[in-house]
């Protein structure tokens, strides 16, 4: 029995944070706006307006570099409360069309409209309607991609940006993937891209030369996704509300950290915050991951999984020491620290066993 093709819309707000700033402050309109760290800080660009992009500025670029590229740009500190508010308003609009919504971040979401009867079932007209309603109600501009799976829908939303939309039909799907540079595939970062190139995979079409076992050899768990997507298949469902798999906290410090003892103290503070968040959701975590970004942007992560839940903060100092033993943390200056807790389970499963030492 054939499974009916899905209809998926990927909505992506255009320069979201910058657009909110321009909307709320008319003097910013038609000007290069950079939301993120200030130029004399160590921060980075979170989002910039299309006017700023003309100067070659993009997100994740350091603010000081952005300033050099465009000294007359207006730098604005992010106001997340406002962005969240706008994002919720937009989600409210989505719910008028479907309940199958998977927000990716504040400014992006997948909508599964397979079973929608609105617009005589035309997903393209539905996307147009949603974008219009977003503009009318929030004054913000969105782009949309429409296709039969998440991967292609996301790809499509980037094609006619800003304020546009694009449809990739089932017939066009494979052709699109075939010519797509491998670096733009979901799950392909710099390291994987290098590996792909070494194997002679430059574009989607090149993936078709490999069997699944061959891909598994090189890419492990991700192989299935690559193998299927090369044939235009991406079965990942639009998940209505994702249970979070991990809870983390990280800080970029105003000054690089050089003292090991201070680094451990900072990690303990981050752990406190992460544990508070875990406990607030009545969860327990079993895995602790530490992330360290050095001043040269090199990054390491180290993790450890325990048999029991991570509860007592006091006991964690030796764990941090063990995890970072042999690393040059401190000798190499540290710019950012992060602590993530994962392998989460409901606390209610645990209350039962009595412990001798608790």
């Amino acid at each position: 029995m054939a499974i009916p093709l899905r209809k998926i819309i990927h909505i992506d707000m255009d320069a979201f944070f910058a657009a909110v700033e321009q909307r709320d402050n008319p003097s910013y309109q038609n000007k290069p706006i950079i939301v993120g760290g200030l130029p004399d800080s160590r921060g980075v660009v979170a989002t910039c307006s299309y006017e700023a992009r003309k100067y070659g500025i993009h997100s994740a670029m350091s603010s000081s570099r952005a300033f050099r590229l465009c000294p007359h740009a207006i730098f604005v500190k992010p106001r997340f409360t406002q962005y969240k508010e706008a994002s919720q308003q937009i989600q409210g609009i989505f719910y008028q069309y479907t309940s199958q919504i998977e927000p990716q971040s504040l400014d992006e979401a997948y909508l599964d409209v397979t079973h929608s009867l609105l617009c005589q079932g035309s997903a393209s007209r539905l996307a147009e309607k949603i974008r219009q309603q977003i503009l009318d109600e929030t004054g913000l501009v969105a782009s949309a991609g429409i296709s039969y799976n998440k991967f292609l829908a996301k790809l499509a939303s980037g094609i006619n940006k800003p304020n546009g939309q694009y449809l990739i039909t089932p017939k066009q799907g494979i052709g699109f993937i075939a010519q797509l540079p491998i670096g733009r595939f979901h799950g392909v970062g710099k390291a994987t891209e290098k590996k792909m190139h070494a194997l002679g995979i430059a574009k989607g079409a090149d993936l078709l030369r490999f069997s699944l076992p061959e891909l598994k050899l090189h890419f492990g768990k991700s192989a299935i996704f690559f193998y299927q997507i090369a044939q235009g298949v991406d079965d990942r469902p639009v998940r209505a509300r994702q249970e979070s798999k991990s809870i983390g906290v990280e800080i970029t410090y105003a000054h690089d950290l050089e003292e090991r003892s201070e680094i451990y103290q900072q990690l303990m503070n981050l752990l406190d915050k992460a544990l508070d968040k875990v406990f607030a959701k009545t969860l327990y975590a079993h895995t602790l991951t530490v992330k360290v970004k050095y001043h040269n942007f090199q990054q390491i992560t180290r993790s450890l999984t325990f048999s029991g839940p991570i509860k007592k903060r006091m006991l964690m100092l030796p764990v941090f020491q063990q995890l970072l033993e042999g690393e040059s943390v401190g000798q190499t200056k540290v710019r950012l620290l992060g602590v993530t807790l994962s392998s989460l389970e409901q606390q209610s499963l645990y209350y039962q066993q009595v412990d001798l030492f608790d």
Partner: protein
């Protein structure tokens, strides 16, 4: 370096050494076994930097030299050769040639002087003990130690020595086992150490020599060393104090429950099939001469069974992880098990009916 040795002389030492070598190493040379040849003595060494095993093999030979080779591969080669054959080893440039009958192997090597030293501080305490006693003490406690617990001091066995009193304790917090015995000679020592989990597991495997033989145990603040015939086992110790568990003894108890060990084990095994897969909870209802064991799981499946016991006390009900009770009861050597539950239902002692050197404690579950 060149020597010929009989397969039976080298096979067991290699097996003992490979057992401590980790499957994945931080340094490639840790996958290797160190060969040191000095006149009539061949010394084999393997380590993961936490635990080290050194075996001395005496045989006729007049050469000297040292080299390291992949341990697991060499073991597999020796294992697969016919029994009692002579094996010829010869170092040719950077390869170790291994030959026996018509089989030839050429193994890669790494320089012996790159092999890491196992750091040890001077041993300030020592005692001797019969193999049988040490093995019993470890076997009766090891099954309770924690595995990967955040409370790292629980991932091992506490060994305490107070002149002639020997005490071993293992606990993962949910259960505890305690061994208390006397050794034959005065030691004059009062000390407590924690042997890490891996060291404990290796040590129990190594103690299969003559049970009546005396072995020598030495330790310092940081290390333990046990000499078993021609083998020396060393391990780093867990640098911590063992937590206080004395409160569990300081309470009032109900009268004991006497039950046939096998009957209890069989009933628990059957009933626990329908318990929660992860937490294995079962409820005990004890009344008169009957123990009713029951359970249910999130799928709303249920099981219960009633067995005969001897019990004089008040009716009570308490719940446990069935696996913990099974482990404890299985470690009793007698046919009868005695379960003594604290009056406030906070713990359950499991012992034999006659006085023994060991007892087990299982903490309950609250349902």
């Amino acid at each position: 370096m060149k020597f010929i040795i009989n397969r039976e002389l080298i096979l067991t030492p290699l097996q003992q050494i490979v057992s401590v070598i980790e499957k994945r190493q931080t340094m490639p040379i840790l996958a290797n076994v160190l060969f040191k040849l000095d006149n009539n003595l061949l010394t084999l060494t393997g380590t993961d930097l936490e635990v080290q095993i050194v075996v001395n093999i005496a045989f006729d030979n007049d050469e000297q030299g040292s080299i390291t080779v992949p341990a697991r591969k060499l073991l597999d080669i020796c294992k697969s050769l016919p029994s009692a054959v002579d094996i010829k080893f010869e170092l040719v440039k950077d390869k170790l040639k291994v030959q026996s009958g018509r089989s030839r192997f050429s193994l890669s090597t790494l320089e012996a002087h790159d092999y890491p030293d196992f750091e040890m501080t001077a041993m300030d305490c020592q005692f001797t003990i019969k193999t049988a006693q040490f093995k019993t003490a470890l076997d009766k406690t090891a099954f309770c130690m924690a595995n990967q617990d955040i409370r790292y001091y629980l991932n091992g066995i506490m060994l305490g020595i107070f002149n002639r009193q020997l005490k071993l304790v293992g606990s993962d917090g949910h259960r505890l086992s305690i061994y208390e015995g006397e050794i034959e000679t005065e030691t004059g020592i009062e000390s407590r150490i924690i042997i890490p989990r891996k060291g404990v597991l290796e040590l129990t495997r190594l103690l299969d020599n003559d049970p009546e033989q005396e072995i020598q145990v030495e330790f310092s603040k940081n290390n333990i060393r046990v000499v078993i015939e021609n083998l020396t086992f060393s391990a780093k110790l867990v640098d911590s104090k063992y937590p206080d568990f004395s409160k569990v003894f300081e309470q009032s108890f109900n009268s004991p429950v006497h039950v046939q060990k096998q009957v209890l084990k069989d009933a628990l095994t059957r009933v626990s099939i329908l318990s929660n897969e992860k937490f294995r909870g079962v409820e005990f209802v004890i009344e008169g001469n009957s123990l009713q064991i029951s359970t249910n799981n999130p799928e709303h499946e249920e099981a219960d069974e009633e067995i005969a016991i001897e019990y004089q006390g008040e009716a009570l009900s308490i719940a446990f992880n069935s696996q913990y009770i099974l482990d404890a009861v299985s470690n009793l050597d007698s046919e009868m098990a005695v379960l003594t539950i604290a009056e406030n239902l906070s713990s359950c002692f499991i012992e034999e009916s006659s006085e023994q050197n060991y007892k087990f404690i299982v903490m309950p579950m609250r349902l």
